[in-house]
């Protein structure tokens, strides 16, 4: 029980019960601006509607299409609907509310300039089926962004259409598959290190490859000797995340790439953590053949419920011919989309198509705005500040939380801690729940799997020293409470609208749709 707020509401209180400190609970169950919001099906009545319909003529007959049962939707007025969703949105955490330390997610600020540009009529009001001569500006955005991504990564070309990270992974792996087929080789094995993102083995399996794991070393990097020893005529390539999920740069990347190429394979790099090296390292110089770039991470477009992802894939000269359609190319002084009709002239070996249209146009506009407003020197500083912030978090807390790879040198974009040293019965989960009381979204927990009770914190370059110090103070106090065995932490959060929901029951017996009536 906090002494700061003795009369505060707690999850165990129900409506009508006296509150702590003799303050009665409210009639509504609301606690000032903390509102109890029912499901949308539980408000309004079925007799009302927010839409005016014409009276149906008496002789009007839809025949067999006439609805025989109620439609089952809540009958709400516009104001009821708006209020419902606005109330729900107030219970959300967002990057616009505070530091969002979710490791591997790069929850950085989404600059408002991006939004202003994306809403300009020439970008915001275009349609993918418009005649191409009327959208030359939009095609120029795609073309110029592609040029920047190719230059920043030191690669030969880029496929812009993939819609998010895992979609980009699939695009890159399908390019590798197409290249192997063109060579007439039947290589079935993709090597995936333990330090890779969890989507990598899923992508490899989805594309029809057999996944073989490669162990990590005690310092949290891929065991390059084990990887190189496994190479052979059955190996299609490797999927490496760099910087990896332990927040470390894979120093042997070039050595690994050279060995993979010598053995006839290809190198896929998961670029989800590109924020740590943008402007500093060009993956093309490390021998990478394909890498997706999360525009919604490194290039600041909104994500995590705030907007769609976008995952362009940069390709080496060896894989570029197989890139999916469509592609934007200058033809006779105009920008043109290379699609099925004209692919034979421009992209004859393309493996096909992954999306109906050109990709996430709205994200392209935002990402290019971000790039142009930072410039190449600004992007370099993004990486430097992101790495500095993560190391500040790591070294400010490694006296109270174990940093399993703290001796492996500076971290990159994220700081990794384990649950070693907490009091008996206390876990990473308790610290995460405590952070909710402190007003933060918890960090990534229990990932990567190679670290026991992992806590992965990625502050990004967005945060100032003051904001970082406040977060570090909160996490430090929780770590100390967990080490001292403070029982109140076992029941945190105490100040959230709901406390510890039954995650196990939710996973075992999920109820995913409205069950009433």
């Amino acid at each position: 029980m906090s002494t700061l707020n003795p009369a505060g509401w707690r999850p165990e209180m129900t409506s009508g019960e006296a509150g702590a400190g003799g303050v009665p609970a409210t009639f509504t169950g609301n606690r000032a601006l903390m509102l109890e919001e029912p499901l949308i099906f539980e408000i309004g009545t079925r007799e009302t509607t927010g839409v005016d319909f014409d009276e149906v003529a008496e002789d009007f007959d839809l025949g067999p299409l006439t609805r025989s049962a109620p439609i089952g939707l809540a009958g709400l007025s516009e104001s009821e609907t708006v209020r419902h969703y606005t109330r729900l949105s107030r219970q959300n955490y967002a990057i616009d509310l505070g530091l969002f330390p979710l490791g591997s997610c790069t929850m950085k600020h989404n600059p408002r300039l991006n939004e202003k540009v994306a809403r300009m009529a020439g970008f915001g009001d275009v349609h993918p089926l418009q005649p191409q001569e009327t959208v030359q500006g939009a095609l120029a955005v795609i073309h110029e962004l592609a040029d920047w991504l190719v230059k920043l990564t030191g690669m030969a070309s880029v496929a812009m259409s993939p819609k998010a990270g895992a979609h980009g992974e699939l695009c890159g792996i399908l390019c590798i598959k197409a290249a192997l087929e063109a060579r007439g080789e039947d290589r079935r094995v993709l090597l995936v290190p333990e330090s890779a993102h969890g989507t990598n083995p899923a992508t490899a399996a989805f594309a029809g490859f057999t996944v073989e794991g490669i162990p990590a070393t005690s310092e949290g990097r891929v065991d390059s000797d084990a990887l190189i020893a496994r190479l052979g005529p059955d190996v299609a390539g490797v999927m490496i995340t760099n910087p990896n999920t332990c927040g470390l740069f894979e120093r042997d990347m070039k050595k690994i790439s050279d060995a993979v190429h010598a053995a006839g394979g290809y190198v896929y790099c998961d670029g989800a953590n590109f924020n740590a090296i943008v402007g500093r390292v060009r993956p093309g110089d490390l021998g990478v053949d394909a890498m997706h770039i999360n525009l919604h991470k490194t290039f600041s477009t909104p994500h995590g419920g705030g907007g769609p992802g976008s995952g362009p894939v940069v390709l080496s000269a060896a894989l570029a011919p197989y890139a999916p359609l469509p592609v934007v190319k200058p033809v006779d002084g105009k920008l043109r989309l290379v699609e099925e009709e004209n692919a034979a002239d421009h992209q004859p070996d393309s493996f096909g198509r992954m999306t109906a249209f050109h990709g996430q146009m709205g994200m392209f506009t935002r990402a290019l705005t971000y790039i142009l407003s930072h410039g190449s020197d600004g992007l370099r500083q993004v990486a430097e500040d992101a790495v500095l912030n993560a190391n500040y978090v790591l070294r400010s807390l490694d006296d109270v939380l174990e940093a399993p790879f703290g001796a492996s040198g500076p971290c990159m974009h994220e700081a990794l801690f384990s649950d070693r040293g907490l009091a008996d019965g206390f876990s990473t989960n308790d610290i995460a729940k405590g952070l909710i009381d402190e007003g933060y979204h918890p960090m990534t927990v229990y990932f990567p799997l190679v670290v026991h009770g992992a806590m992965l914190v990625e502050p990004t370059e967005t945060e100032s020293l003051d904001v970082l110090d406040q977060f570090i103070g909160a996490l430090r106090s929780l770590a100390i409470r967990a080490k001292q065995g403070d029982e109140a932490l076992k029941t945190a959060p105490h100040f959230a609208p709901r406390a510890r929901l039954d995650e196990t029951l939710a996973a075992r017996k999920p109820v995913l749709s409205w069950q009433g009536e």
Binding site: Y446, F447, L449, E503, T504, A507, R508
Partner: protein, 123 residues
């Protein structure tokens, strides 16, 4: 009947040429509440060390490996309806699958109960 253990925290009971496989009490404790178990199809040929099943808990999804070579003869369907069995009785009612014993010599590389306890104590 003899019980063996693997370094991947599986136990196996060998009864003639039938092997019953599950995860150890130590493993279920590390995984936390188990919410889903994906079992191998009857008739599937397994190779020692290859993927055999998947166990998913509130914390993570983990592969279960075949402890020996052999062919799957039975899967514990009770885990479909009640995956919590793997938490409450991991080394009994919460068994995962049964398989044939393809190569008895592979048992020589596994641990007995005392060796496994020692193995866990040193983790």
């Amino acid at each position: 009947m003899a019980r063996y253990f693997t370094e991947e925290h599986e136990w196996l009971d060998v009864d003639g040429d039938t092997v019953t496989v599950g995860i150890t009490d130590f493993a279920q404790g590390q995984l936390g509440d188990i919410v889903f178990v994906e079992l191998p199809a009857v008739g599937l040929d397994l190779t020692q060390g290859g993927d055999a099943a998947v166990v998913e808990s509130v914390k993570a999804a983990s592969d279960i490996y075949a402890p020996v070579d052999g062919t799957v003869s039975e899967a514990n369907d009770a885990l479909d309806a009640d995956p919590a069995l793997a938490n409450s009785d991991p080394e009994g009612e919460g068994w995962f699958f049964r398989m044939s014993l393809g190569d008895a010599s592979q048992l020589g590389g596994l641990m007995d109960a005392a060796a496994y306890k020692n193995f866990c104590d040193n983790l």
